[in-house]
Symmetry: C2
DNA sequence: TAAACTGGTTTGTACTGCAGACTGGTTTGC
DNA sequence: GCAAACCAGTCTGCAGTACAAACCAGTTTA
């Protein structure tokens, strides 16, 4: 068996989860994004998004800044260097797998 | 956001799990495989492999035949048509995602 | 001032993956 | 001949996960 397959075993589970893969991918295309924008784009419930952002922040993949837009709270999310790197690595692993088996 | 991203939301979770992706990918390269061969190739514990095979069988993605090799039990696994199709679809979705964002 | 909305967080539940304990049978050592 | 080790798997318990619904603090609208 090729290494591409063995590589599957150590995929980054933080990134591998589809909802989070969606989130980080969206974040990778913008400078930053607020909570509701992400919710609409990703099609997630608030609770779900909140939880996933929590994990991504804990993993050091996104930076979350709580501010205010006028008087309303506003949560702004931004992919970190580490997050960007993790996403790139993940895509490389997946691409390797697909190329090797497709 | 492109459809490639939305597509992430409905990835086949049965296939998406790395251990199972590994299993079905291995099975896609051989006519059939017995339990211990799969265990060695995939690097999984017996318990783990047994559970995953159960799910794959339940999903209709693998066919499991219990026979004997001499006097010892032997479990032979084979990818079904549906399993092969599911794997192909999964790879297409992933390829689409990677191409669109890479 | 009450009702409805905004922008989220916390809670509860059901599912999942995983390793280790266990089972039924077989071969080996003594 | 029988105990110990081994083979081929399954079952069990636990820790972690995702998800939606309930909740909360504050703000705008009626």
């Amino acid at each position: 068996m090729g290494d591409e397959l063995r590589g599957l075993a150590d995929l980054d589970r933080i990134i591998h989860e589809p909802a989070r893969l969606l989130i980080v991918t969206i974040l990778s295309t913008v400078e930053s994004a607020d909570f509701l924008f992400l919710q609409r784009e990703a099609g997630l419930t608030k609770g779900n998004l909140s939880a996933h952002l929590g994990k991504l922040e804990e993993a050091g993949y996104v930076e979350i800044k709580k501010t205010f837009k006028g008087k309303l709270p506003l949560t702004v999310c931004k992919l970190t260097k580490a997050g960007s790197k993790a996403l790139t690595l993940y895509r490389q692993q997946m691409a390797r797998f697909i190329d090797s088996t497709g």
